[in-house]
Amino acid sequence: MKVPEILNRLKKEKPEICASISPECALSIELDGDSLLAAAAFLRDDEELSFDFLNCLFAVDCVDHLEVLYILHSYKLNHEVTLRVKLDRDSPEVESLSSLYQGADWHEREAFDLFGVTFIHHPDLRRILMPDDWKGYPMRRDYVHENLIRRPESS
């Protein structure tokens, strides 16, 4: 199934979820943060979509907001879709998908560790890659640290 068909089916079966094709990329569906869990549950359980594999979950720092992307794949029907949620930079919070996909657990911990995105109802949200006492969220674009030496522009 192509992404517009997936979106149509989602809108038809679950009209209360507001979703649209993302302006950044035609292969991704943009969702509201509140409707993410319901949409993901539908995408996983519906017979014609059956997205049983959460491939990847990560955050991107666009300068004025943060985005969290979810890449889902279906082994049964061999199709793929990307979900995108835009979050406020100062308090990025979104529902955790660890109740649907057990692999989401560690991906969400990494997004919390490096970008500061808080995942509500996550079983164990703590740092995973950086030491436990590290301050700050290193992958944000404006991060400054004494150990981070920027490469000078070559003339």
Partner: protein, 366 residues
């Protein structure tokens, strides 16, 4: 009277059988492991932060260090993603050379894994045998691109240089020498009653758990799902290659071992077919600027590495440097499934079962 308590054992970051710097905190009841908490991040080298300050061409050597056991595969996924983003076509000869290198690297990676897992079951000799075979493969790589470990061979639009004269003969000699070696490993190690007793029924991973945790690659095929990106979502020129995908059903350590041994045989066949199809041609699309500016947008490309599915997400903002690069690596998911699979094992079996997932830490930590 004494109280018997459970105790915590730290299988710390420096340990000969953790395949790198993985820390496993084990809660033990005597010899049996009750709970496992893996800790990673000891090799987090911030490859994704480095990507923000390098051009697309300058980043290729860093992808070597992402998974250094199979540098060619990591190179391949990155340059495929950039080519898809920028709409660059790759000449046919370059695609075939890429397939030959990726499959040779798959054999080299599985050989290293075989040496490591045989060390863990206590057999020291196969380690030396596999390194002997691996050195022949590294000779082929050194002949082509000059490096033994971090090749930096693929370029955006092709490969950096053509195969040297004598490569076809030497590769053919290697394959003729190597096929009986796989039989030797099977006879001496895999069909050995001790090895089978140590691996049969240990560390069973059921299929629905594997899919839920995001396990991919040979570990998923050993649990029963016939899925290989080279067949189901072919990239490069894999749709022209004929090979079989080995699948087993019970998901224990022995199945994971047998799937990888069979994959080595299939890789030999793919390399022969690719060498057969080679014709004269250029090896790199000309005219790609050093300051490549792909159009704004994003792309996600998935390829099959020896460990599983490696994916590369690139978002471009139209400048010569990428805005964000993210690698989806198989070992990250495999380490996260270890607490589920290894619970209840004896500590000696835990080491073998953890090794059967073929985890390398640079991929996990990036």
């Amino acid at each position: 009277m004494h109280d018997i308590e459970e105790f915590y054992l730290n299988m710390g970051p420096q340990h000969p059988s953790t395949h790198g710097v993985l820390k496993l905190v084990l809660k033990m009841d005597g010899e049996e492991v009750v709970e496992i908490k893996p800790e990673i991040g000891f090799l987090h080298r911030s490859l994704e932060k480095i990507a923000e300050n390098r051009t697309y061409h300058q980043y290729i050597p860093y992808t070597d260090r992402l998974d250094y056991v199979t540098s060619m595969t990591s190179n391949l996924v990155y340059v495929t993603a950039v080519e898809k983003l920028a709409g660059i076509a790759v000449p046919r000869r370059a695609e075939l050379i890429r397939i030959i290198m990726a499959e040779l690297n798959r054999i080299a990676s599985h050989l290293l894994w075989l040496g490591a897992i045989s060390l863990e079951t206590g057999a020291t000799t196969p380690f030396l045998y596999v390194f002997r075979e691996r050195e022949y493969i590294l000779d082929l790589f050194e002949m082509t691109c000059g490096a033994r470990l971090t090749y930096n061979y693929m370029r955006i639009g092709g490969v950096s240089q053509d195969l040297p004269p004598g490569f076809r003969e030497k590769a053919g000699d290697f394959l003729a020498y190597f096929r009986p070696c796989i039989k030797e490993y099977e006879d001496l190690l895999i069909n050995n009653i001790i090895f089978q007793q140590r691996t049969r029924g240990i560390g069973v991973l059921p299929l629905d758990t594997a899919i839920s945790y995001g396990v991919t690659g040979p570990s998923l095929r050993a649990s029963g799902l016939r899925w290989d990106l080279r067949k189901n979502r072919p990239y490069s020129l894999y749709q022209e290659m004929e090979f079989e995908v080995p699948v087993r059903s019970s998901g224990d350590t022995l199945d994971r071992v047998l799937v990888r041994i069979e994959e080595m045989k299939q890789s030999c066949s793919i390399i022969e077919q690719a060498i057969e199809k080679l014709r004269k041609g250029e090896v790199r699309t000309p005219g790609i600027s050093m300051n490549l500016r792909p159009p704004e947008g994003e792309v996600f490309v998935r390829t099959e590495s020896p460990r599983g599915e490696i994916g590369c997400y690139i978002r471009s903002d139209g400048s010569p440097k990428p805005w964000r690069i993210k690698f989806r690596t198989p070992s990250f998911s495999h380490v996260s499934v270890l607490p589920h699979v290894l619970k209840g094992l004896l500590i000696a079996d835990l080491v073998v079962a953890a090794g059967s997932f073929d985890i390398v830490l640079p991929e996990t930590d990036r």
